[in-house]
Amino acid sequence: MFDTLTSRFETVFSRLRGRGRLSVEDVDAALREIRVALLEADVNLDVVTGLTGRIRQRAVGEELSRALNPAQQVVKIVLSELTTSLGGERLAVNYASEPPTVVLLAGLQGSGKTTNAAKLAQWFLRQGRSPLLVGADLQRPAAVEQLRTLGERVGVPVFSHRRGPVKAASASLAEATRTGRDVVIVDTAGRLAIDAEMMDQARRISKAVRPDYTFLVVDATVGQDAVNSAKAFHDTLALDGVILTKLDGDARGGAALSVKEVVGRPIAFASVGEKLEDFEPFHPDRLASRILGMGDVETLIDKAESAFEAEQATETASRLLEGTFTFDDFLTTMQQVLGMGNLRSLIGMMPGVPRELRGAEVDEGRIGRITGMIHSMTPQERAEPDIIDASRRQRIAAGSGCRPSDVKALVDQFKQMRSMMKGLGGLGGKRVAASRARSSASKRRGTGGRTTPKGPVPVSKAPLTLPGLEKGEWPGLN
């Protein structure tokens, strides 16, 4: 639906190559595009204004380095500014000298407080703590039951009290001391920031438990209003941090930036899926590229890691690089890729994907037809596509309900891909130099593995051109 910021910039800067400095006009032209991208990502209008002001300051007069084109140069500035805005200080959880350490969760209805209370409990459990979950949401029917079920699942006791949320919260401290739990996580009812009565209740709960950490749970799909509610919650509860939820969808999550700017407290955790394990400390750099529509390579890699069996994938990959990749390998890999989720959202996570691809409706039914065609091939044909002649094509087409020309297109493209990938195998020596240029991709675990985007680079040399994927055009990874 949206163009990537880079492809917008390419147009803006196409006339600029070869000059040594960004002029004010060039920067302003780029800033217009940045504003569009940020607004489409649901960053609050006022926050957009502040941000672009800072970006302008940094970008005007910036000396152009030779390694990058102007578009990449500006993207780099934008990305670093966004990452700084989202990051800054990190939240380090210091446990109270006199247990229990109390954590209070608050937020709008449906932002995911109850689920994330359980996720947080599991996180503390893994830190070697023994948390207690407290159900102080007596507003929503069955909210406490939901918490109990989740508590059972993670193996954490749940405490509640029928005599009201404030009572439940305050009594939980004694309960924690009695049962030797050293972290108390209080789940509160969802409330609107403009609901004076409910906000007062939140204040009273907070007073009763004197939390060490108060987290605002914010949904990544939230729009412009995020600042209003965050401000109100901050004024009432003095927030210590933010938990960003529902990052498993394709929302850009610009609201996080708004909230961060308004509240000035770090985003501590991100919830990236429905499973209780899908909860992790927040990565500002990942969200920054996501907000700019530049893909989310690291999330993609994480997904790949869980979808692929390492050993089999290594084998497949080495065959790919040797040029002995077969249709069977292709089929298996394709199925694994599909297992990673919606193809369109996967494409969305890849940086630098050209607009034709990003905007395209990926009809997964067509993938079914490709599968059908491969299934209609004999094992020998799958291993050696070169033997597929007109009569074999006819048979495969009949077997899969396609036209012989479809089969031809598939086989041709398969062969192209195979020779492209074989070419890639010879690039090994350049890997270190190339990976240094994209070093930020490895920020997280330093496994050296974040060089994955290397994969499709040589695509640009083959007839199956994917414009925008040329070497060195990996924005945000420089």
Partner: protein, 375 residues
Amino acid sequence: MTLLLAADLDGGGMTPLIVAGLVALAVALVVAAIVVLRRRRSRAPGAGDGATAVGDAADRVIGRLADRAAGAADVPAPSLRDRLSRARTALTGPLTSALERTSVSEEAWTEVTEALIRADVGLATSSEIVDSARARTGAAGDDPAAAKAALQAELRERLGGFDRSLARRGDGERPSVWLFVGVNGTGKTTTIGKLAKREADAGSRVVLAAGDTFRAAASDQLAMWAERSSAHIVRGAAGADPASVVYDAVESAAARGADLVLADTAGRFHTEQNLMAELQKVRRVADSGSGVVAETLLVLDATTGQNGLAQAQQFTEAVDVTGVVLTKLDGSAKGGIVVAVQAELGVPVKLVGVGEGIADLVPFDTSEFVDALFA
């Protein structure tokens, strides 16, 4: 820092998992390329023209915004108003203040555009609306009254003209099924609870289908609502196939002579292909037995930003959404994304949730909504 990271890289080498990632990228790209190349061949010319026009309009507004934004960088502190005073500002908000000057300037139109963007209408749609309103004003030029009328007329026209009634397609034998879909946490279960009460009070015999078998205690939550409206509820075990729960509910409704089944489903992201396929199955099954699906209602949270359009698109594509329920409109969020949803997909808002009470579910009113957009 860069050096440090580079050192990390050099030490790590290629692990099998990286190879896995490489293959994933390569194949996903190739597959996508095949699909796109084929599609491009069959695509009718001129399909992209509309998008370009929108882009131009947006560009102009962004230019205006950019000019204005040059100075002020601070985020003004939004004040916490109670609902009443918020309702009052609806009449004195930016719309009025911008347009009740002696003459309508470029500046004023920019402020209007900003107000729309702040209401989550979205940049492209906001620009379109303002451009059309300006075109309408035409010869009247900078007369504030005319400008205001034009803007309101434009919005009402965009939002108006839809049948917002909730359809019943059943007959004496076959109950109507209303299926509720949406992403997590938008308020599907609560909406069903309120609606059950409303329809039961209006004389319908209602059966609730607890089709959210995924979220912990979702069916308990629905059961409590069922109690409040004395509706019959059909539940399945946790993790049960939602389609089977809905099927059982429909059969049970038919057997009891009930005329309406409200079917809950688990919240799911529109990007989760398998879960969307599951939803398609639920809809198919609900239609296949003794019942008939009369409405598929997308529950959309008023706080949702631009992602709401993607949600609506994907759900409509998957299960043919017939209407939107806009929830949580009692907060400070304006729900402006439904303007785009209705314009792009032709799916009207049918109900609005304005509070947690059982009576706080009301029909959508275009004029009220338009006024509130600028509050």
